[in-house]
């Protein structure tokens, strides 16, 4: 089957939804397809808890927000993009307000803000601890107002169509029927989210498997800065469910087994509210040095909220309380929560400029799948939902402008037939002796051991070898289910394939970068090295593994200085 639209947006998370609205606002004449592998309100963005950063009040300033972001990023962020970002973010907050988002309020009815790690002003706007949930629902509901947004829910993108250096559309499987659909379009926006399920201990939803990144990568679009993966300090032990940074923003403490607030020793000024990479490393150090609290699920650190009192916890952190009770059997009002650093955010992604344009004409990327780079080597909490909103809009508008000025070109039938053959003749129901589930499990183990918070050259090289081995084994993968309708077995196998390619890119970038910066910390190179490494990594796909190139970081106002908190 074949359908055509002016713009095809892949991904119904915050970024994709925002892009759809922006494009629809640009012109009523544009027909916009919104494609996602889950229903939009089931995207990963609903998991975001803490909040969204924006400069709204007296005393705060754009420069301050930008500086916090750049410093948090360990100076790897592109500063022109950051400056644009901080200016646009407040408007997005107000738009969501006008569209019905139940932002938490102050007593006089204005939008409230809270403290967040690495932000030197209380500038995080929030909706209790369900920020992402409410944002996604608000945007989704808003899309219903535009007749020119056509949703394709539960369609799994398998490939991009690029001809003559320009995007022509995408190919996706309709899960319900198992049919393959070719979407022809003048412009394609990728908003498929991060790649967090590369890791085993992670806060991510099961669906976050980096599909968009891997597909673009295979189509020779470079990936940027893939070695930078954020570890959030506080993942619930054992499930990895996020205990939001707002727990600390609202005044929670981190304690080791002696009950000591150990952050005193690592970041005396900002304490628990230092940026994530700093806190996560400090916690890991405590654990490695034997000051973690032992449990049947390994050592952990205590996140202590007991002094906040029931009323405050109920009002500001209701979801956290519910989750701690349901998933760990612990009531944070009475006992500290067991936590450990956990894989949380993909700073890297598809290479774009600050207008969300990839090197391929008509192909845009936005949200977590993209690396515009405002997060550099380490993202600040609550900057990512803000990024999805700001740059979702940018992508939508740019794609709309482009679509209005170009003609649709039809895609050759051969391309469709080839993809059909690849999927239904060669992949579906194939027999082999490797289970995709086993490969995924082993991949997670490699990532969790070799590419975790503390990295070193030898460990990473070992890990890289193992990834290649897994890739080899994947060629022989078995797909037990050979039916067409809602074949989750096949989809899983696809996702594992995507993740293997991404793991390779992460590993290659990490091994090459012989310095420590932001979230990328090497025991064998513990210092930042601006002379040689103040630059972005670009990984290009080749059949023999990633080829790396480097491009400079854009610096406008802020020269790199030592990062102290």
């Amino acid at each position: 089957m074949r359908v055509h639209h002016d713009i095809v947006i892949v991904g119904g998370g915050l970024a994709g939804l925002r892009a759809a609205i922006a494009a629809a606002e640009k012109s009523k004449k544009l027909s916009i397809a919104l494609i996602s592998k889950t229903y939009p309100i089931r995207c990963h963005s609903v998991c975001a808890e803490g909040g969204t950063a924006a400069v709204l009040r007296e005393g705060d300033s754009f420069d301050l927000h930008a500086w916090d972001t750049v410093k948090g990023a360990d100076f790897l962020a592109d500063q022109d993009a950051v400056e644009f970002f901080v200016r646009e973010s407040p408007k997005e907050i107000l738009r969501l307000d006008n569209w019905g988002c139940p932002w938490s309020r102050t007593e006089d009815g204005r939008i409230a803000q809270r403290a967040f790690g690495g932000q030197s002003f209380n500038r995080t706007v929030f909706a209790a601890d369900r920020t992402g949930f409410h944002e996604v629902h608000t945007l989704y509901e808003r899309t219903l107002m535009y007749p020119n947004i056509v949703r394709y829910d539960e369609y799994f993108m398998t490939n991009l169509v690029i001809e003559d250096g320009a995007a022509r559309g995408i190919i996706a499987i309709e899960l319900k029927s198992g049919d393959l659909v070719l979407f022809e379009a003048k412009a394609v926006i990728l908003a498929t989210g991060g790649a967090g399920r590369l890791f085993g201990f992670t806060t991510y939803s099961h669906q976050v498997t980096g599909d968009g990144m891997a597909i673009a990568y295979r189509c020779r679009v470079p990936l940027k800065d893939m070695e930078f993966f954020q570890f959030h300090p506080t993942g619930l032990v054992p499930s990895g469910i996020l205990m939001t940074e707002a727990c600390r923003g609202e005044g929670g403490y981190l304690r080791n087994k002696d009950g000591e607030r150990f952050m005193e020793r690592y970041a005396p000024e900002r304490m628990e509210l230092a940026p994530r990479d700093v806190v996560a490393r400090s916690m890991w150090r405590e654990i490695i040095e034997g000051r973690g609290i032992e449990s049947e699920y390994g050592p952990y650190i205590a996140l202590d909220l007991t002094h906040l009192g029931e009323e405050k916890i109920e009002e500001r952190l209701p979801l956290i309380r519910e989750a701690a009770k349901k998933f760990a059997g612990i009531d944070p009002v009475e006992e500290p929560i067991p936590v450990r650093p956990v894989a949380h955010y993909t700073m890297g992604g598809v290479h774009t400029n600050m207008w969300c344009e990839t090197p391929v004409k008509g192909l845009y990327a936005t949200g977590e799948v993209a690396c515009i780079s405002i997060h550099g080597a380490n993202r600040l909490g609550s900057n990512s939902t803000a990024e999805c909103l700001v740059f979702g809009r940018v992508a939508g508008e740019k794609a709309a402008e482009y679509a209005l000025s170009t003609e649709l070109r039809h895609v050759d039938d051969d391309i469709y037939r080839e993809e059909e053959k690849r999927i239904f003749d060669e992949f579906l129901g194939r027999s082999g002796d490797e289970s995709p589930y086993q490969i995924k499990k082993e991949l997670n183990e490699v990532m969790d051991s070799s590419f975790w918070i503390f990295r070193d050259g030898n460990g990473m090289k070992e890990g890289f070898k193992k990834i290649l081995e897994l890739k080899e084994r994947y060629r022989n993968v078995e797909i037990a289910d050979n039916t067409r309708k809602f074949n989750t077995d096949m989809i899983y196998a696809f996702e594992v394939g995507f993740m293997l390619d991404l793991a390779e890119a992460v590993a290659a970038g990490a091994i090459a970068r012989t310095e420590s910066r932001g979230a990328h910390y090497r025991l064998d190179y513990p210092e930042r090295d601006d002379e040689n490494w103040l630059k972005h990594t670009l990984a290009y796909y080749t059949p023999d593994g990633p080829k790396l190139e480097y491009i400079p970081v854009t610096i406008t106002k802020w020269q790199p200085v030592e990062r102290k908190y």
Partner: protein, 237 residues
């Protein structure tokens, strides 16, 4: 310890039960059990899941007759060494535990579940004032995750497949109760039809099963009164 997962399966043609023995550890959720089966025993088992923390609404299934979110149900809490797991009712089954939500979302769309304002300004939005108290009057109703549990137990929905259902009507009420909204009339019209609020006869099972305690039955009853008043007003004026 092993627990028997007795799963009702459907492959597009055949409908049958299949049992799996799942080794259970302390704190294990139903969803982890389903993943255990998929990863180790039968890869073809189909179910939906994503967030595994009870906010995305993907994973509602029926366990021993009652709809629950698989991801936030502890296996031990079901208190039984054999679990009958079925797809939720009132939805067409696509495969195994996966049901068709198309119609459910269409009904949600039909009630205009978005803030309607006369001064909608895309380019230059302004901050609207809403006190915490005003927010409280609708906030619980905004917590619906659209998992379909309420709809699956609703006898009115069982009788008529075009009934809007608890979730959609709750969505309508959530916006009507929002102090920022100016689209009440349009929404009364949307829910007062033959397939709307009058179909409900307060079995109130929706409020019993809602995993997020949204209290759809309450929203529907509030909606009924307002809709009734609206209808009377229309006749008189």
């Amino acid at each position: 310890m092993k627990v028997i997962f007795n799963i009702r399966r459907f492959d597009g043609e055949k409908d049958y039960w299949q049992s799996f023995a799942v080794p259970v550890f302390r704190g294990m959720t139903l969803l982890e059990g389903l993943f255990y089966i998929k990863e180790n025993l039968d890869g073809s088992l189909a179910f939906r899941a994503s967030c595994r923390m009870g906010v995305c609404g993907s994973c509602a299934v029926k366990v021993n007759g009652k709809p629950v979110l698989a991801c936030e149900t502890q296996i031990s809490s079901v208190n039984s060494s054999k679990l009958d797991i079925e797809p939720i009712d009132n939805f067409r089954v696509i495969k195994d535990l996966v049901t068709d939500f198309e119609g459910f979302f269409r009904k949600h769309e039909a009630v205009k579940p978005y803030l309607i304002r006369n001064d909608d300004n895309y380019e230059n939005p302004v901050e609207l004032i809403q006190t915490p108290k005003q927010m409280k009057s609708y906030y619980t109703f905004s917590l619906c995750i659209k998992c379909g549990a309420c709809y699956s137990v609703c006898p009115a929905a069982a009788t008529r497949s075009d009934y809007l259902g608890p979730a959609a009507i709750t969505a309508a009420w959530r916006f009507i109760a929002d102090s920022r909204d100016e689209g009440k009339e349009e929404r009364y019209e949307a829910v007062c039809g033959d397939n709307g609020v009058w179909r409900c006869h307060f079995a109130a099972e929706c409020s019993e099963v809602c995993p997020k305690k949204v209290e759809p039955a309450k929203a529907v009853q509030k909606m009924r009164i307002r809709t009734a008043l609206h209808a009377i007003k229309k006749v008189i004026l």
